[in-house]
Symmetry: C2
Amino acid sequence: MTKATGIASRLSKAGYRLTPQRIMILDAIEGASGHISAEEIYQKIKALYPGLNISTVYRTMELLKETGMVTETDMGDGRVRFHSVGHEHHHHLVCSRCGAVIDLDEAVLAPLTTLLTEKFGFSADLKHLAIFGHCKDCDR
Amino acid sequence: MTKATGIASRLSKAGYRLTPQRIMILDAIEGASGHISAEEIYQKIKALYPGLNISTVYRTMELLKETGMVTETDMGDGRVRFHSVGHEHHHHLVCSRCGAVIDLDEAVLAPLTTLLTEKFGFSADLKHLAIFGHCKDCDR
DNA sequence: GGGCTTATTGCAACTCGTCGCAATTACAAA
DNA sequence: TTTGTAATTGCGACGAGTTGCAATAAGCCC
């Protein structure tokens, strides 16, 4: 109930109820460094509050995504990861052969999003993108 | 055994066995116009050959992806779609609010892939990408 | 054609994520 | 503080996709 107070109040101001489950989930996300999976959030909380259900975690993440407080990234390992928004956005180059991950600054994709807006009136949601391919070492 | 002969021989030349299941799956993909899901492939074939197992379809698609004969696209509807390579690649702008899909020419992403190669030595595999966001009508 | 080797298949069990529904509960209003 | 009600939760069942393992069979060699 400490660190997540800011996000929590934003949630309640947006018209959503502040349940203990949500508060604990928010805490878990804020407390986590970097990316965290739904299962990890679930396990963290279950230690203190065994009543929590995994589907509540998924539904809360859905909510946080919609309200833009969290982003979702599929790093290709069969497990989606979440990341609280607030710091600069960044992207990932994921090598599908060796699994290496290269971090990519948001600026690299800026020209693309601009182009999509101008040409198609489409505002791309590229807060946290994973691009698959082959890294230098694995390239044929 | 008719249309897919070309792809089939490519498969066998690559050192993979040509099983009846694989031939039927290749036929189904070639026969399909545009995108097709694993379930659709499965149902198509099961009518003629009930012995087929769905996991064989998935494993074959994995194989075809690796050998670059097929691309995979997640259109955000909870069902991945496949598409045989050979025609020009294209991409999709998917509106996460109304579900509209705008087709995008490959050329639009060419500058990005070039940049990634030059700057990071990373060859991005952007044969069939779905970019999520909001379309003109759904934009806030 | 017949045998041998190893890739491939079918099966069953599993994981991640979603959904419908009934029970609970946050929060606004009295 | 009590009540009313719609949002939220837990639960169980489901759907998509993956995996380990034993049985099968494609394709090579003779």
